[in-house]
């Protein structure tokens, strides 16, 4: 429990995706998150670090756990938080993203956390606004804080990220979690295999992310240290690409029997929310190897670390 993050100025202004992030950058965030993990277990679960700063949460897509996790992270750092969800905002009345940026920019938020259905929306916002921008998930592109909290969870459970064998199962095509996860895990030399029905694995995924692709679960699971099941995204019409959910579950669902192929001490992850009985069976989701709730707890500490390393950036640059 004596991890001390290296003394080093964080070199990025935004967290839009993990592109351009180095191993050192990721390690700095994870080490910082260790300190915040401890804060979450105190009598008073709050530190005054971001007092007087404003964090704006801009959610164009429904989200429960990511939004609450970010909100809790900002509040535990004593920042003022504003939440704008699409259902109640003027976006519904037809305001463009550009106008929204201009309007909100006039309120001078220090950090903007954005989730948007369109890939690249956070980049656009970063260009239009003065604030630091954190991508909380954009379209099918990236979800960097999920990858970071997954890495934090893996590192805590396995002691290291270095060279682990990781299997990622399911709807790869629609998954920003898979994209950011692969990017991060490859930075640490993990042996990553993605597996899913051909209709749900993009053609050039293997080359683009430098990972292996399998059509069958067995070779991917064999000897794995980490097994990550992804959600079948019904709202993105993943079902249209499958004969039926029952067939998917029979061939690609993670159950206790299949999990036995992985290492005995393998951990099971899921970014949530789960479709129980589809991509993951309840006995595995609630089993001894599941770290799904640890992921949720890690989310707050990791997002506190992200807000912390970004907050002072560019005070001299801007």
């Amino acid at each position: 429990m004596s991890t001390v993050a290296p003394e080093r100025a964080f070199p990025h202004r935004h967290l839009l995706s993990l592109d351009g992030y180095s191993r050192e950058d990721v390690t700095q965030i994870l080490d910082t998150a260790e300190a915040f993990f401890e804060v979450s277990r105190r009598a008073v679960r709050k530190v005054p670090t971001l007092r007087g700063k404003t964090v704006l949460h801009l959610f164009y897509e429904d989200s429960t756990r990511t939004r609450t996790s970010f909100e809790l992270a900002a509040k535990r750092l004593s920042a003022d938080t504003l939440n704008l969800s699409v259902k109640t905002s003027s976006v519904k009345k037809g305001e463009s993203l550009n106008d929204t940026c201009r309007t909100l920019g006039a309120m001078h938020p220090d950090i903007v956390v954005i989730r948007h259905g369109a890939s690249g929306a956070p980049h656009y916002v970063a260009e239009k606004m003065d604030a630091r921008v954190v991508n909380a998930g954009d379209g099918m592109h990236a979800h960097p804080t999920q990858a970071l909290l997954d890495a934090f969870t893996i590192r805590r459970k396995k002691g290291t990220l270095e060279g682990l064998k990781v299997a990622i199962l399911g709807d790869i095509a629609h998954s920003r979690v898979a994209r950011s996860g692969c990017r991060l895990l490859r930075l640490f030399g993990c042996d990553v295999t993605v597996v899913g029905p051909r209709t749900l694995v993009p053609k050039h995924f293997a080359e683009a992310f430098d990972v292996k692709v399998e059509d069958r679960l067995e070779p991917a699971l064999e000897g794995a240290d980490v097994v990550m099941a992804l959600r079948i995204q019904r709202e993105r019409l993943a079902e249209a690409l499958l004969p039926s959910l029952r067939e998917y579950s029979r061939i690609f669902g993670l159950d206790g029997k299949r999990l036995k192929l992985a290492k005995e001490d393998a951990i099971v992850m899921h970014p949530g929310p789960m479709n129980r009985g589809v991509e993951i069976q309840p006995d595995v989701a609630d089993g001894a190897q599941s770290v799904i709730l640890d992921q949720v707890e890690a989310g707050v500490a990791t997002r506190m670390a992200v807000l912390y390393v970004l907050h002072g950036q560019g005070s001299e640059a801007s």
Partner: protein, 178 residues
């Protein structure tokens, strides 16, 4: 570079401070010791040893990191030298002794007090420092002072405790930089 206090003197000093602490806290029954990362942690360890010997049973010891409580956290570049704080005991109703190596502006101590209060409500918070160099910017005073030293305002003081060979040795050096 000037030696302000050699190892032997540092040990003697901390032994005296330990005696004073035990006296002031009525035998030190409800005492716990918390070092401020990083300089204060080693001094706290030596002091806890001495106090433990004095009162005949080990003293609960912890460490706090004040990076998140700095009054310049919002403007300073983040240099996340944050180590997790660890307070492995209940602070409620205790006499908690905060320990640091050098006391100057008092800002670190202000932050440490705030941090400690987030763990609960101690009966009383005390402060012990090995060296007091003056130059306060806040109305803060130490209850126990090893030695008052007079050094130029910009001088840097390094306190190093040899931890491997003789865990109770200490070196204090003064470097004038810039």
């Amino acid at each position: 570079m000037r030696e302000l206090m050699d190892a032997e003197a540092a040990m003697r000093t901390l032994k005296r401070v330990a005696t004073e602490v035990v006296e002031a806290t009525d035998g030190g029954e409800t005492l716990a010791i918390v070092g401020i990362r990083r300089g204060g942690v080693d001094v706290a360890a030596v002091l806890a040893n001495q106090v433990g010997a004095e009162r005949g049973e080990p003293v609960p010891t912890g460490a706090i990191d004040i990076a998140l409580y700095r009054d310049d956290a919002a403007t300073a570049l983040p240099d996340p030298k944050i180590g997790p704080s660890s307070i492995p005991f209940d602070v409620d109703g205790r006499d908690v002794l905060i320990v640091d190596d050098v006391l100057q502006t008092g800002r670190t101590i202000r932050a440490a007090i705030e941090c400690l209060l987030d763990y609960g409500r101690p009966r009383r918070i005390w402060l012990a420092v090995l060296l007091d160099r003056g130059g306060r910017e806040l109305p803060i005073a130490a209850d126990f002072v090893g030695k008052k030293v007079d050094v130029p305002k910009k001088a840097r003081i390094d306190v190093r405790l040899a931890t491997d060979e003789s865990p109770l040795g200490a070196f204090v050096e003064e470097k004038v930089s810039g």
